[in-house]
Amino acid sequence: MPDTPMIAIDRVSKFYGIYNALSDVSLNIGAGEFFALLGPSGCGKTTLLRSIAGFDNPSSGDIRIDGHSAIGVPPNLRPTNMVFQSYAIFPHLNVEENVAYGLKRLKLGADEERRRVGAALEQVRLGHLGKRRGHELSGGQRQRVALARALVLRPKVLLLDEPLSALDKKLREEMQVELRSLQRAVGITFVLVTHDQYEALALSDRIAVMFGGRIAQVATPKEIYQHPRTKSVADFLGGMNFLSGRTLGQTASGLTVETEKFGTLTLSLPEERIEVGARATVGIRPERLRLLWDDARAPHELTGKVVNRAYFGETTHLLVGVEGLEKPLSMIETNTHGADDLPIGADIRLAYDPEAFVLLADDPPVERLN
C-alpha cells in the first residue's frame, strides 16, 4: 500500500437518533486497491460507503479522499462515483444519454463527449446497445451501463453498493470476473459493499469485515479466511467447527491450548489478548478435516459416525458425531472417493492437521444504542 491512502477514514461515527450505525471506524484504503466492505445487513457497511460518496455525513470523525477532507463536500463535488444497488439507470434516457449524463456538465464539446461515451461503452462491451432504453436491457447489461456511466467521469474512487445482488448466480459469477479485470484495466480504487463472503473473497485485494457498526478485521482474503480473529468473523466467512479449550501457557511459537479430542495445540496468538488458564475457542474449517479411506493412516486421527449428509454435486457435506464432543463436526469432501455414498450411521475415521486450527477471540459486546 502506498504511503498516502486514497481514502482515509478516521474515527468515524454515525448516529441516527440514538442508534449507532457506525462507531469509531478507522480505515485506510490504498490507491488502486480493490477493497471490500463485508458484513451482514445492518452492520454499517452501506452507511460507510454512503459516507464516502457523500450521501450520509458522519456524526464525528473525518473522511479524507486523496488527501482532502470530504466532510461537508456534497456528492457532486467529490472525486467518487457510485454504482447503485438498483443501478439507477435514468429511465427517460437511452444508454448513451445515461453514460453522457455526467459529461454534459463538463462541456467537452460534442465530438469529445461522443468519443468518451463510445470508449466507456466499449470498455463494458455495450457498444452495440447505445440507443436502447433502460427497460429494454437485461440486469447484467444495466449493471454495465451503471459502470460505464460512473467510469466515464474518470473518478479516483469507484463505489459499488451490492452491485451483483440483483443478478442470478451464473451471471453474478461472470460479472465477478469482469469486475475484477475492469478494475485492473482502469487501475483506480474500487470499494465494494457486499454481504456475500465469496464475492468479497473472489474480488478484493483486502476485506474489512464489519459487525454492529464496527470493523472486526481488515486483511487480505486469504488471511481473513485462514486466520479470522474472532468467532463472528470466522463464522461469517464460511463454515467453521468451533471447539472449546483451555489455554495452558505461552511459548515462543504461540499459545498452547488444550482441547477435548484434538489434544494440545500450539496456536499463533491473535491480536486480542487471551488470558493464560482461561477458556478459549479454537476453530477448524470443514475442508481441513479429511476422510481416511480403507487402510490410509494419518499422524492425527479421530473416529466418528456420520450423522447427516448433504450432496452438493462436486462436494458432499458431512456431519460427523465424535464421542466426547458436544457438537458434531462439519466437514466437506470432494466426491472423488465416494463420500456421497456414505450411509448415515457409518463409522469413519478422519484426519486433521494441528496447524490448521485457529485461536479465536470472543467478540466484543455490541452496543448500538447510545
Binding site: 457523500g54 463535488l77 447503485f84 438498483s86 429511465p91 449524463y101 437485461s138 440486469g139 467521469l153
Partner: protein
Amino acid sequence: MNTGAPEKSRLLPAYVAFYFLFLYLPILLLPVFSFNNAAATTFPLAGFTTKWYVSLWGNGEMLTAAVNSLIVGVCVSVLSTLLGICAARAITRYRFRGRRAANGLIMAPLFLPEIIVAVSLLMVVLAAGMELSLATIILGQTVFCLPYCMSVLTAGFEGFDRSLEEASLDLGETAFGTFRRVTLPVVAPAILSSLLVSFTISLDEFILAFFLSGTEPTLPVYIWGQLRFAAKLPSVLALGTIMLLISILLLTIAEVVRRRAERRYATGGYAHA
C-alpha cells in the same frame, strides 16, 4: 349432473351484453338525437341536421358558461395537481407518523356523498362571508379532485427510485439540475395525467358547481338550467355530445401517457437477466 356449465356459459355473455347495453345505449342516443332534425327526442328519426350545433355557436349564454368551465377546469387541475404533487411526494417518500391516516383523509372525499360535501362547503363559504363565484367553485372542486390526482400521482411517484436522484448528484449534477434533468422528466407523465384527469372531472362536475356558483354557471349548471325548456333539448344534446368527446379524448390521452410511463418503469429497478 353436468348441465350447469354450458348453461352458465350462455347466460354470462347475455348478462354482460345487457350490462353494456344498459350502460352505453343512453350515451349513444345523445349524439344520435343531436343530429336529428326534430325538437322531440323520439323515434323515428326525422332526418339529419347540424343546425343544433350551429345554434350553439350563436348562443352567448352557452359560450359564457363554456368559458367559465374552461377557467374553472384549468385552475382546478393546476391547483389540485400542485397540492397532489406535494402530498404524493410526502406519502411515497417519507415514513412519518400518521402517514396512513393522512392518506386516508385525503382520499376520503372520493367516498363521501358529494351533495353533503357540497352543502357543507356552501355553509362554510357563506359563513366566511365569501361571495359565490367561480373562485368558490374552484375551491370546492379542488378538494373534490385531489383524491383523483393523488391516486394518479402516488402511482407515478411510487415507481420513482430514490437512487435516481442520488445517481444524478453523484454524477456531478447540482440539486436544481437534478430536479430539472431527472426528477421532472421522470414524473412528468404522472403530472400530465393528473392534470388531464382533474380537468375532465371538473369539466362535467355538477353538484359542487351548482351549489357554489353565483351568477356564473359552468357548462353542467347551464345545461341543467336549459332542461326546463323542451325546445332547447336538442342543442343541449349537441353540447353534451361535444363535452362527451372532449372527456373521452382527454381521459384517453391521460391513460396512454400513464401506461407508457408505467411500462418504462415496470422494470426500472431490479431485473433478471
